[in-house]
Amino acid sequence: MILWWIGDLVLLAVVLPVVVYLLRGVLDAAKMIVPSVQEIARAAAAGSKDLDAAALLLTTQDQVTKTVAGVANYGGSLDVILDDAR
């Protein structure tokens, strides 16, 4: 009978606080993760939006190709017009 009471006492005084303490720690940790995940999601969305201009690289590539071709043409003409160095 005494052991039963001791068991009840341990249950209320030790087990219950320990359970509450541990569960509260898990809950706090989970709550701390939520803002970080939301921040990461916002950053990823912003990064994705920043990359919208990446498609313009195709235009840049085309322009660079044309520019270099024009420079090559001018270079060829200059090569003909100008005398070489001594």
Binding site: A54, V68, A85
Partner: protein, 212 residues
């Protein structure tokens, strides 16, 4: 206290304690589940955005590589042309005049170029060449005095070009005299003269002969 009553009391306390533990478990675990669902939602959004990033950045590597190859070809071409036409020494001097300190790096396709001492560009090229070079960019390149100012104001380049035009353009009047409007819809209609376009009454040659 009767033994039966003591047993009952101990059992009730046990049940209450277990119940409290169960309630705490339920409360905290449900809260954790709620937070985990928020985390899952956030991660879903993150994964979607990261997927977009991957998709959008996929061609960047190839495109940039191609651009670099094209630019490399252009640089090789211009370097080769410059060295061919100006000679290695003058070419190094010209590049060093445009980009101070660039002579130390030398040309990519000419390994011996870094060892060449860059001449003072003002001693190599004429004043007209220097002026053209200085107009080409904002840096004080190729100046008679290297510390001198650039001829071209990059922020107001159009003002410098405007000086080439007559004075009335330089003073920037609000409005210049407009060209006259002609035609049937013109605001000023002139009276039609009958003698215009009609046969001449007297030829000039005859009048002169009559006087004589």
């Amino acid at each position: 206290m009767a033994p039966a009553l003591a047993f009952a009391a101990a059992g009730a306390v046990t049940i209450v304690a277990v119940g409290l533990i169960v309630v705490a478990l339920v409360f905290y675990l449900v809260s954790v589940i709620t937070q985990l669902r928020k985390i899952t939602t956030g991660l879903d959004e993150t994964i979607a955005s990261v997927g977009e990033i991957v998709q959008k950045s996929a061609p960047v590597n190839d495109v940039v590589t191609t651009i670099n190859q094209q630019l490399d070809a252009g640089v090789d071409l211009l370097e080769g042309l410059l060295v061919k036409k100006a000679g290695m020494r003058d070419a190094v001097g010209l590049v060093d005049g445009m980009y101070a300190g660039a002579a130390a790096a030398g040309f990519r396709n000419f390994p011996e170029s870094p060892t060449i001492k860059a001449p003072r560009i003002g001693e190599v090229y004429t004043r007209g060449t220097l002026t053209l070079a200085r107009l080409g960019r904002e840096a004080p390149i190729a100046a008679g005095n290297p510390a001198g100012p650039a001829l071209r104001d990059v922020e107001r380049g159009s003002l410098a070009a405007r000086l080439l035009y007559p004075e009335i353009r330089q003073t920037m009047p609000k409005s210049l005299a407009r060209s006259p409007v002609i035609g049937t819809d013109a605001p000023v209609q002139y009276e039609k003269r009958d003698d215009i376009g009609a046969p001449r009454k007297q030829l000039p040659g005859r009048a002169m002969s009559d006087q004589s």
